[in-house]
Structures are given as structure tokens and as C-alpha cells.
Symmetry: C2
Subunit: 456 residues, 2 copies
């Protein structure tokens, strides 16, 4: 195993951490506690600052076959970053520079440890925007890229993959390679860059990314539509899209989750009517455009049973609503598990009803939040389910229902370590073999996150 | 080598073609004639109708190590589909069914041999749209997917990759596998599906695709802005985007190319003023929205030196303009070559000027059309350049200029066979080795398009 001394020779002694108490934060991430894999005992944290240092660390680890766990913002919810074998945690926190916000090409070039919050701020300062909002703003860009993060606001312009245009990556064998660039079109042999996106850090260490920016939308509005009947809320979603309006986001929340989260944040959920809510974010080239879209959306929603409408125009009001939506997972913690299924967008109503039936059958309640425009739902399994020993049975029924409807059981959080058995169960043998072969081509000694789903 | 008899046993004797004259059309594609690789002599064309038949053919070819060239619409411009070794052309023309246009999930499920034109029509009939327009409407969906086609209208919602949500694929070893689904989010292990997109048909035969649709935009407008000075036209592009407007397309054309193509089509280029044109397609949720965008765009363009504006609102007028833009390559044929570079969008003005200098140095003129919003330009090298023996020298200088500006020399047409030396020259050895390893994992006997850039 690689020693702390050897790592100090590479990055300097200030950037190698071995003290147990200082290592603790690197042993957990944002996976629900009950589902979190247990970290190993003998961990060294190393904090390189350059691709060359990462290269030297990986070459050493590759020679000594020492496991390496790349660490971003620790906001992952599937346990991917947790060091489950003795080895090295390679923290990207010093890769914190935004190298360029290019107004003419509408691109950002940033090191992998820059946080989402920092990118949003930098883009805003240059009158541009990064439309998706893939979760916690403490997430780092490298992690967002390798996890192909989704989040709210993927309805109009898609998930992270659509924004990733270039990267610098250090391979487990130590080579530093660059792919793509500030390029909207780049078809150059097999698309290795798009294999890295969503590889969950098992193929290489992303050190720098080039991301597409959009203009800042001069007009935006966030609206809450209240419904007494959830099915009516859900049935509104395709009707909005069919009217020719593509919001940035169409989110769904139950009242109890909305209020629980607002309380947790010492805030107030602003919608007084209704039991079920759609949160819709509109964007446009100017305020008139957003107003005219909003009018159309209001009409569609009222026609589909909305009992109240609330429109937030000021930036702070909009941010408050998004904040409540974003913090649901923290608010419900500790909970038994949060699921991450997606079904075809037209099937979410059916799927929600199926899950209700499962909950009823087991005498419990399963609240739900989700990205309604994407068909991506997070069912929240509360402690009572685990206490009554029902967790596995309920999860299996929910998963089977999603699959029956043409869905997936790992939509945006990825496989990580939490989902290893899911990949195994729902993927055919030939595809798993291809994944293993690819892993072997990139990482012949299986040093990067070795206890992943994809191992020989 | 696999015999015609063996193939007839699989698909029936009506669907195996061996007559020389009937095979001729399968030996060419849309690559400029002067650059087209020469097909081999002993070719059998087979036309399966099901994934099971494709599987049986590939198993046989794999056993006998017979080269297989998958054939879509033949609209590729890099020679990928041309059978350069004795073997089998596997034509997808019978995979011509659109299985479903799903209004609730906004998805199309179609066999791989369905053409772009057929998809556009089917989506339109259900009040939906497929926003990108990746070239010739005779292109087949399978080809569009494996080539990650771009074309005009990638500015707002991106290239084919952003639309591909699911596929059925037959691997060279015969397994039929499905990936993704009608799902906007699906992070399930290594993203094999996104490795297939842009693999140019060397990893498997795509038999069915699930594509994201958008609502039909109730409002659209196509505008032509005329400029006397090309640099002013090009400098308008980032200014439009920075104003918060993202058109579906921002295309650039020189006057001589516009008129040449219009004449070729027996049409008239509608813009009377100017030497350089921007064609801008706007879309929105309603007509008011498009008008207000159009007003903003007119203001930006006039401020940047536009001398005339022409707005096409009727569908036929809009279609005529797009037709002229789409048929440039046919109109200039036969030409020595058409290049396919992309540079960071903010650099296209500089790049155009560099190419002008190269043209001047060699005493010629190099007209250009391109996707200005994407930074993707097609420089058209006319016959005089080849006749004077300058082709390689000029190409090398243009390519080096693109690379210097952070660009790529294979933007949207792919590598195919025409670009083998380009992949070789501009890609580092480690990445090429990874591509070869991946090819081997999918296609151990190298039967699918064996004379590609990526061979062991």
C-alpha cells in the first residue's frame, strides 16, 4: 500500500491527512445514513493541486495496487465516494479555480473542485447562466460530470451530459488526456468523453471541465400550482408541454413534505391551498415572453383542476421556493431510504398510484417529491418502514412497478455502492461484461473505486 | 466468407442481392466523389427485417470473420458506409416502422431504417416536433444516432445525442440488447448507450431507437439578415445569444454559395442586398413570443451592421430557405472536398479570416457555409484546388488553423474512412488504445466495418 510519506513527496506534507478525526468527514457522503456503506479503517487523504500531482499519485497507486477513492463535494447519494477498502481518498478541494468564463463562446472552463454554487455565481456575474440545478450547490463540477447529475431544471435543456463539452482527465495509469473543448460539435472517434460522463469516477480522475453556458434569461418566473387531487396535478404536466411551453423545471411535491422541509429551514411554505403542488419555473428572452407563457400555463393548470396559483417574480422569492424543494432530502433525514426511480414521463401518475397501493398494502405512507417533467421521482421511505422490517419488501415492489412501466431504478443518483445489487439485477450479462472490459481497459489494476458494481 | 445461400436461409431469397448492377448504389454514399473510398468487388447486400435476423447474420459473419457494413440512408459524408473489403452490406431499409409516437411522454419509438423525413412528418401529425435538422431528410434514424448527427438547429437543443433516450442494438457477437427507454434520466452503470451514439456503426447494429420529441412550437419564424461585411455578420452571433435569445438555428452563407444553390434548385435566393447572410430560425410558445424575439434580433443585427432583413413567416417560405441551405453540398458537387471543422463559437470570425488568408496565399477562393451558432463551418474546396495539386497543402493549413484556435477537424460528419488519418494525427496514443480496446470488447473478431480508424 502507498504510504503517507510517498504521498507527501508528491504534494508536500501540508496536503496529506492521516489524523483520524480529520479523516472522518471523508468517510461519509450524503447517502441516507441507514443505507450508507461503512468506510474502511486505514485511509489516507491526499489533496493534490495539479493534474501532474494527480498523475504521480495514480502512477504510484497503480504500481502498488492501492485503492483510490476520488472525493468531490460529498453530495452523492449512492455512497460512491466512500472509501470502503483501505487506501487513498483523493480530494479535489484544491482544484478550485474557474479558469475562464468565455462570453463570446458561452463556455466556462473550470477545475473539477469548483462548486456548483461558485459556477452559478461566476456565470451570473458575466450575465450568463448555467441552466440545470443538479442538487446541492456544494457539489463539485467533477462529481456532477462523472455522475451525469440531473436535478430540477432538466426539462428544457437536459441533464449534465448536455453541458459537458470538454475535459481534462487523469487515467488510472497516469496519463493526462484532454477531450473535446469549447466545442458544440466534436465527433472524433469513439466518444470517450461521453463514457466518462456517468462513469461515477471509476475510469479516471476528471481535473478540469468545459461546460456550455446559456445567456442569462432576462425573464424568469417561479409558480406554484396547488391541487386537491394529486392525479390532477400530474395530468397537467403533459398538457403544459403539449401547449408548446417547455419550462426549465416542473417539480412535484406533497404538502406534508413541503411543510416539513419549510419547518426544517425555519421558512414558510407559501401555498395555503391544496394538498399537492406543481412548482414550475419559466424562462424567456424577456419579461413579456415569460408573462405570456405564464398566462398559458395558468390556463392549462386551471383547466386541469388547480385550486390556487402563486407566482414568484422577485429573485429572492423564487430562490426561497427552490431552496425548500432542494432541501427535502436533508429535512426528511434520518429516513430509511430515498428511492430514485424514473418512468416514462407519461407514466408517473400511474406509477404514483401503484406506489400508493403498495404503501396501503403494508399499512404505511410513502411521501414523494420529484422531477415531474422528467418522470423522475424520489419516494421517501420513513423510519417506520425499516423498524417494521419492511424495507426490502417495499423497495422490491416499488422497483418492480417502475420496471414494469418501462422505467429505471437508478435515474439520477447513479449506482455508487448502494445500487450494486440493482445494476446486477436489472442489467443483462453481456452489458455487464462490456462494462467490465471497459473498466479493465481504463484501469487494468482496478485501483479507482475498486469495490464498485463493475469489477471483473 | 459468408455465402449468399447462407444469408438467404436467414432472410429469404428475396432479400439477398448479388446482381452487380443492383449492388452499385450500395457502394457509394454522399462523400464528395473525389474523396470517396473505392468499394470492394465482392459484395453481397442483405436486407433483414428483424433484430433476430440481424443477430443470425452477425453470428454467422462473426464465425466466418466476414466484414459487415451497416447501411442506412447513404447520406454520410465521410465514407463510413462504403464496403471497402469483400463482405456483406447489411441494409436497414426494411426497418421502416415508426412503432409509437407517445404524446404523453413526448417520445418516438422507431425502427432504425425510418428516415428523418418520415419521423418529422409523424411527429408533426401528432402536434409534436423533432427540433434538430441533421441534414438530408433521407438519412435514417440509426445512422443519425450512430453518427451523432448535428446539422442546423443544434443551437438551442443540441445534437442527436441529446435526443437519444433508448435503443435496441445487436452486438457483433449476436446478442440483442436494449438500453435506456422513454427516460429522460437513466444513470445505470457505464453509459454504453452514449458510447454507441457517435460510434459510427463499429460497435453494433442499432435496430430501434427511442427519441425525445418536443412540443410543436406554435410560433416559428425564419429570418435572413444581409450584411456587406462578413465580419459584422459573424460578430452578431454572440451578441444575439447574449441578449438572452437562443434561436433554433443560426446559419451562415456567402452570397455566391446561396445563389449557386438556389440556381441548382431552380429557386431564387430571396435576399437582394448584401454579400453575407445569417439565417436565423426562431421558435416560441406562441406567435407573440416569436415576434418579440424577432424584434430583439432585428435590433441586435441592425446595430451590428445588417443592411437588410427578410422575415419568412409562412411555412412554405421558411421551408424554401431551409431547403437552399440544406442542399449546398449537392449544389457544389463535384467539388474537391468539403471540410467539417468546428472552433469555439466565439472564434469563427477569426477562423474565417485565417482561411481567407490561406486562400489568398494560394491564389484561390474558399467559400464557406456553416452553423454559425455552433462554430461549425464547412469550407468548400472547389475543383481548381485539386487540379492545381494544392488540396493536401490547403487542407493541412486549414486544419492547423482550426486546431490552433481550440477546434476540431471532424465536427459533425465523423471520421468514417475519409478521416482515418485525421483521427490518427490529432488524437493521442493512449486514447486511440482505449478506443481499440473498446472496439475489441464489442467486436472481438473485428467484423463490423473492419477498415475503420479504430483497429488493433
Amino acid at each position: 500500500m502507498v504510504t503517507a510519506e510517498a504521498l507527501k513527496d508528491i504534494v508536500g506534507s501540508d496536503w496529506v491527512v492521516t489524523a483520524k478525526d480529520q479523516i472522518e468527514p471523508y468517510k461519509i457522503d450524503s447517502t441516507p445514513v441507514a443505507m450508507m456503506p461503512k468506510a474502511a479503517e486505514n485511509i489516507i487523504v491526499v489533496k493534490p493541486a495539479t493534474a501532474q500531482e494527480v498523475s504521480a499519485i495514480l502512477k504510484l497507486a497503480n504500481r502498488e495496487t492501492t485503492p483510490v477513492y476520488v472525493r468531490g463535494g460529498g453530495t452523492g447519494m449512492a455512497g460512491a465516494a466512500i472509501p470502503t477498502h483501505d487506501g487513498i481518498v483523493l480530494s479535489m478541494e484544491r482544484f478550485d479555480k474557474i479558469e475562464e468564463i468565455d462570453r463570446r463562446s458561452l463556455m466556462a472552463v473550470a477545475q473539477a473542485g469548483v462548486t456548483l454554487g461558485e459556477l452559478l455565481e461566476a456565470a451570473d456575474a458575466e450575465n450568463m447562466s448555467f441552466p440545470p440545478h443538479p442538487g446541492d450547490e456544494g457539489a463539485q463540477l467533477g462529481g456532477l460530470v462523472v455522475c451525469n447529475a440531473g436535478g430540477a431544471r432538466a426539462v428544457k435543456f437536459g441533464v449534465m451530459r448536455n453541458y459537458v463539452k470538454g475535459m481534462e482527465i487523469v487515467l488510472p495509469t497516469g496519463e493526462i488526456v484532454t477531450m473535446g473543448g469549447k466545442l458544440l460539435k466534436c465527433n472524433t472517434g469513439l466518444p470517450l468523453m461521453h463514457l466518462i460522463v456517468d462513469s461515477e469516477g471509476i475510469l479516471g480522475v476528471v481535473t478540469k471541465v468545459t461546460l456550455r453556458l446559456y445567456p442569462r434569461f432576462p425573464g424568469t418566473a417561479t409558480m406554484i400550482f396547488s391541487y386537491d387531487d394529486r392525479n390532477e396535478a400530474i395530468n397537467t404536466v403533459p398538457a403544459i408541454l403539449q401547449a408548446g411551453i417547455i419550462p426549465l423545471a416542473i417539480e412535484y411535491m406533497d404538502r406534508d413534505i413541503a411543510e416539513l422541509t419549510a419547518n426544517y429551514l425555519n421558512m414558510t411554505w407559501p401555498a395555503r391551498e391544496g394538498k399537492a403542488f406543481l412548482i414550475i419555473i419559466l424562462s424567456g428572452s424577456n419579461e413579456d415572453e415569460v408573462f405570456s407563457q405564464a398566462e398559458q400555463v395558468v390556463e392549462v393548470c386551471q383547466k386541469h383542476g388547480a385550486v390556487d396559483t402563486l407566482m414568484a417574480e422577485r429573485r429572492e422569492e423564487q430562490a426561497d421556493i427552490l431552496k425548500i424543494r432542494s432541501e427535502v432530502q436533508s429535512a426528511v433525514s434520518p429516513n430509511a431510504d430515498s428511492l430514485d426511480t424514473a418512468v416514462p414521463p407519461g407514466e408517473i401518475g400511474t406509477f404514483m398510484n401503484e406506489v400508493d397501493k403498495i404503501a396501503e398494502k403494508y399499512g404505511t405512507r410513502i411521501p414523494v417529491v420529484g422531477h415531474a417533467g422528467d418522470g423522475n421521482l424520489h419516494h421517501i421511505l420513513m423510519q417506520d418502514i425499516a423498524e417494521r422490517g419492511l424495507l426490502d419488501a417495499i423497495k422490491e415492489e416499488v422497483y418492480d412497478a417502475a420496471i414494469r412501466l418501462g422505467g429505471t431504478v437508478t435515474a439520477e443518483h447513479g449506482i455508487g455502492k448502494k445500487g450494486i445489487h440493482l445494476l446486477d439485477k436489472y442489467t443483462d450479462e453481456r452489458q455487464k461484461q462490456l462494462m467490465r472490459d471497459i473498466k479493465k481497459a481504463f484501469d487494468p489494476n482496478n485501483i479507482l473505486n475498486p469495490d464498485t458494481a463493475i469489477v471483473p
